[in-house]
């Protein structure tokens, strides 16, 4: 059953009798065309990878398919019958299920409540929770996705939450399953597990759509590959394609996937963290007795699955959270007593995890955002010196290759990658002792990733201590001189760069290094 079209777009396909087919799907948001006449065929019994950069239009397309958005043009048909989905209820009824990137789970509900929500089995409006639990257990056994019906979602690890999300789609007996960036929050081992699940669902005759921007994963599992760039289908391939080819198709030019990086010439410890313990407002210990150091001219990457205390660790370094216990010292100076302003003045630069929220003011202009943390240097007798601010902006735009229509435009007009360049440019525009960057390339296009990584390494080579918090192993591989792996608030271990991925993955699940090495070897032996 090979309906993979290798033909170029436009000459597309005789109406596919079997499966789901999208024809000429177009969606515009204002002047932006998110989807531009996209054709796609999804066939039962195959895994179809939808590959594209952040903002290429993958999620928009799938939201149209799932009935969350209306297409401006184009048709969706299943087994040759045209469909009109105005809401998810209709698309679910047609057999489409979706595993969302940001899980669509109610945190304070139990697993069972989440799975039955919207299709409750009820007599006279009364919930029948016993039957619901039963159903969850049946599903869980049938698909070998272990969950406990009465666990509350907020207490479950993300990997298990994802299982619940998958079971939710399967509870509806979805024939077409869309996985939207499902691997972003998983450890490598959990990714393997997920791929096994996807394969077995495929072998049952379901169609799988796997949305991702990670080439490695695509090549590991895809039967068919469609690459989308700027809202258009730019090519199709199968699993025999090379990583380089796919990357080029995705980005539109050849990219250097490996950033050149010389070995670190590490000096004295710049940042020393000892027995740091931090609790959140509800009293949960989110950073638990963490000790680490970052030396001058060295990049320490803090690896771990989202939500294991890394974010909080980075925030503590900037004085954004109260410290319960422990020491944080910058070249011998205690940072825990300093406020954020003093910390910045002490020579700490910060690239926050959520740049739209904490990194810039989106309604301010590019020029204004470039001086946000150092306005004092651009004033005379309390008045802003616009000539200097603009000159500064022009210089930074050149230096950091910030693609903008003008420095007087609001930052919201920039792409994710360029917005992040603004943040980094601002932070690097003064002499730093320590640079703390959380997820510096999240949601950033490949071309910009390359640039941002290069600048961070340059900063390291200038003798700055760099601490990177990242959940992306690719990024850690590209940047790290040493890697601290965190799990549930603890540092599981600090390992040198070049530690194999599967070992890191096991450590992210909380296994100490020695055991992880053994387990990884055994794992490799199995295959």
């Amino acid at each position: 059953m090979s309906t993979t079209t290798t033909a170029p777009i436009g000459s597309a396909a005789d109406p596919a009798p079997q499966g789901l087919s999208l024809r000429g799907i177009t969606k515009r948001f204002g002047t932006l065309t998110a989807n531009d006449h996209i054709d796609l065929d999804i066939v039962p019994g195959r895994i179809h990878c939808l590959l594209g950069e952040n903002g290429a239009g993958k999620s928009t397309l799938m939201n149209i398919l799932y009935g969350l958005l209306d297409a401006d043009e184009g048709t969706i048909s299943i087994d040759g019958v045209e469909q009109h989905f105005r809401n998810p209820r209709q698309s679910m009824a047609a057999g489409i299920g979706m595993v969302h990137q940001h899980f669509m789970l109610v945190d304070v509900f139990t697993v069972a409540e989440n799975i039955i929500l919207g299709r409750e089995q009820a007599t006279g409006g009364l919930l029948n929770m016993r039957q619901a639990r039963q159903k969850v257990l049946e599903l869980s056994n049938r698909y070998r996705l272990r969950v406990q019906p009465d666990s509350r979602i907020e207490h479950l690890p993300v990997g298990v939450q994802q299982r619940v999300e998958i079971l939710k789609a399967l509870a509806n007996d979805a024939k077409y399953l869309i996985f939207d960036e499902p691997t972003a929050v998983l450890t490598p081992q959990e990714i393997d597990e997920l791929m096994t699940v996807m394969r077995s669902l495929r072998d049952e005759g379901r169609a799988i759509v796997f949305i991702t921007h990670k080439l490695r994963e695509v090549l590991a599992i895809a039967d068919d590959i469609t690459v989308i760039r700027r809202g258009k289908v730019v090519g199709q391939a199968d699993a025999s394609a090379s990583e380089g080819d796919l990357a080029e198709m995705m980005v539109g030019r050849s990219v250097n996937l490996q950033v050149d990086k010389s070995p670190a010439e590490a000096g004295e410890p710049t940042l020393v963290v000892e027995n740091l313990t931090v609790a959140d407002a509800s009293g949960q210990v989110v950073v638990d007795d963490v000790s680490l150091d970052v030396r001058a001219g060295e990049i320490l990457c803090v690896a771990g699955v989202q939500g294991n205390g890394q974010t909080e660790l980075a925030e503590v370094l900037l004085g954004l959270r109260p410290v319960l216990k422990g020491r944080v010292e910058l070249q011998g100076r205690d940072l825990t007593k300093l406020g954020t302003r003093e910390t910045i003045a002490a020579g700490v630069g910060f690239v926050p995890e959520d740049r739209q929220h904490d990194g810039y003011v989106s309604t301010f202009t590019v020029a204004e955002n470039l001086v946000l943390n150092q306005v004092g240097g651009f004033t005379r007798r309390g008045n802003l010196r616009w000539d200097q601010i603009k000159a500064n902006a022009r210089a930074k735009v050149d230096e950091f290759d910030i693609r903008t229509q003008g420095i007087d435009l609001p930052l919201s007009s920039l792409s994710g990658g360029n917005a992040q360049k603004v943040v980094l440019a601002r932070e690097l525009s003064r002499p730093l002792k320590l640079l703390v960057a959380s997820q510096p390339t999240r949601g950033v296009d490949v071309g910009a990733i390359e640039f941002l990584h290069k600048r961070i390494i340059e900063e390291r080579d200038r003798g700055t201590a760099v601490l990177i918090v990242s959940t992306e192993l690719d990024e850690i591989e590209a940047l790290a001189d040493r890697i601290a792996v965190m799990n549930r608030g603890h540092v599981v271990g600090i390992v040198p760069a070049g530690t194999p991925r599967d070992v890191l993955g096991l450590m992210m699940a909380g296994i100490p290094y020695d055991e992880a090495v053994v387990a990884a070897e055994e794992g490799a032996g199995d295959e």
């Binding site: 998810p88 789970l105 929500l117 666990s151 949960q284 000790s291 001189d481 271990g493 699940a509 055991e515």
Partner: protein, 474 residues
């Protein structure tokens, strides 16, 4: 935003049995610092379980956060101040305090309890001081809940003994309790309206306005028809109508819900005042003389000493309020509608993706809430004098709102908090009639003061529905 917090009802210090907590304390980290670049440092952690086995809940170790500490200390300080005041009251107390358990007309006469005033006040003061110590000292988490309870009881006992000591009349316990339920009735119903709205994600600051409008409607319709039942239905209709205004602008037109609530309150105040002045006042006899709700004595049960008066000879409204608590709980926890209401209040997008109509569910919850607010509003006219007057609800809707928040958006707890406010309210008027040296104006302040103290003392720890107040836009 979406970090996982435990429900606030768990006591902070409890949940430590995370395996692997005992990370080596001292030696390990300093080794880590000295470690050579190529070497590897590890910590002892939880035994590994394969991801496939990980289907259980995980709980992080918990400790006292800075916020919780501040909360604890300020509560301790507050109790300390109360203890000091109580100690001072010791010097002002003389004679015997008498508490009458029965009214003069009751068939079964319970004894009147006499206690020596001074020792009781002194003991209360000491208990309060002890509770203060428990709060101020760290590491007494287990005792804290009890200490809070003891402090509350000691405050009431000490205050009453001081107030009743040496007076000619005894303190009427059954009056106090009966009045508590009576005065709590509109608060309970108002809070339930809030529960319905806010659990669905619509902040309702307009309970006051809904109740005021309902009170007006009840008075006028009750007067015109001469029927209490008609009055009650008119009140519910008015409550739902104001709820519809809230729903229309909050849900359909995505207006800021707090601002909207304030506007609705002003609208209700202006509207009822205008109609009252221009239409009702000139013909008070016909339009503002509604029949009153009569107490319904439940056969047999009302004869139980003390309890019978308190629980079984109330008006229909009080019974309805108590039943409504159970009804709202049942709706939210046991019905499909309730599950959907809770889901749109927590994560509307998740509800949308499984085909639930978020807008419709929110509308239904707000309208249903209006029924309770309407019933609550009718209390102020049908339950008291049968006549409406300008701003007759005097901010009780806001106290209901406080009860809702302190009750953590849960019907049972909110009703309990409403009873607390009713208790304080009634206490003020009881103490006033006994002739204490405190001026009556200060006593009228009591319920509002209690609201501020209680909300300030408890609000730091509560978490409402995640999407409360957030309009849903596809």
């Amino acid at each position: 935003m979406n970090t996982t917090y435990p429900r606030p009802d768990g006591t902070p210090e409890k949940v430590p049995p995370v395996p692997g907590d005992a990370a080596p304390a001292d030696a390990e980290p300093s080794d880590a610092r000295r470690a050579d670049e190529s070497s590897v440092t590890t910590a002892t952690l939880a035994p590994y379980r394969h991801p496939a086995q990980l289907d259980e809940e995980v709980h992080l170790r918990t400790t006292e956060s800075a916020e919780a500490r501040r909360q604890r200390l300020s509560t301790g300080a507050l109790i300390g101040i109360v203890a000091a005041v109580m100690l001072w009251l010791v010097t002002q107390t003389s004679g015997t305090a008498r508490f009458a358990l029965s009214n003069a007309l009751d068939e079964v006469q319970l004894p009147t309890i006499s206690v020596p005033g001074l020792p009781v006040v002194l003991v209360s003061a000491l208990l309060l001081a002890a509770a203060c110590v428990v709060y101020v000292l760290p590491g007494m988490g287990r005792w804290r809940r009890w200490a809070g309870l003891v402090a509350g009881l000691a405050l009431v006992a000490g205050f009453l003994s001081w107030a009743a000591a040496g007076r000619s009349l005894p303190f009427l316990v059954s009056n106090q309790l009966q009045g508590t339920l009576l005065l709590a009735t509109p608060l309970i119903l108002g809070a339930l309206c809030g529960v319905m709205c806010e659990r669905s994600g619509v902040v309702n600051v307009a309970i006051e306005g809904q109740m005021l409008t309902a009170a007006f409607a009840a008075a006028v319709v009750g007067s015109v028809t001469g029927s209490v039942t008609a009055g009650l239905f008119a009140a519910m209709f008015a409550g739902v109508l104001m709820g519809a205004v809230l729903a229309l602008f909050a849900i359909t037109y995505l207006m800021d819900q707090v601002v909207l609530g304030v506007v609705i309150n002003l609208l209700a105040l202006g509207l009822t005042s205008f109609l009252f002045d221009s239409l009702v006042k000139p013909q008070s006899g016909e339009l503002n003389d509604a029949p009153l709700l009569e107490p319904i004595q439940i056969p047999l049960l009302h004869k139980i000493p003390l309890l019978g008066d308190v629980l079984f000879s109330q008006t229909i409204l009080a019974y309805l309020a108590l039943i409504s608590v159970v009804v709202v709980w049942f709706i939210l926890e046991r019905t499909v509608w309730g599950l959907r209401i809770r889901s749109v209040g927590e994560h509307p997008k998740a509800a949308d993706t499984v085909g639930i109509n978020v807008v419709a569910i929110r509308w239904s919850a707000v309208l249903a809430g209006g029924l309770f607010a309407g019933l609550g509003g009718s209390f102020f006219t049908l339950g008291v004098t049968g006549a409406f007057n300008d701003d007759i609800t005097v901010g009780k809707g806001f106290i209901a709102l406080a009860a809702l928040i302190m009750g953590r958006w849960r019907p049972g707890l909110a009703a309990l908090m409403a009873l607390f406010f009713g208790f304080v309210d009634q206490l003020g008027s009881q103490v006033q009639t006994m002739g204490t040296p405190i001026s009556s104006d200060w006593l009228k302040l009591l319920p509002y003061l209690a609201t501020i103290v209680a909300v300030a003392g408890l609000i730091g720890r509560v978490r409402g529905p995640a999407a409360d107040g957030v309009p849903y836009v596809k």
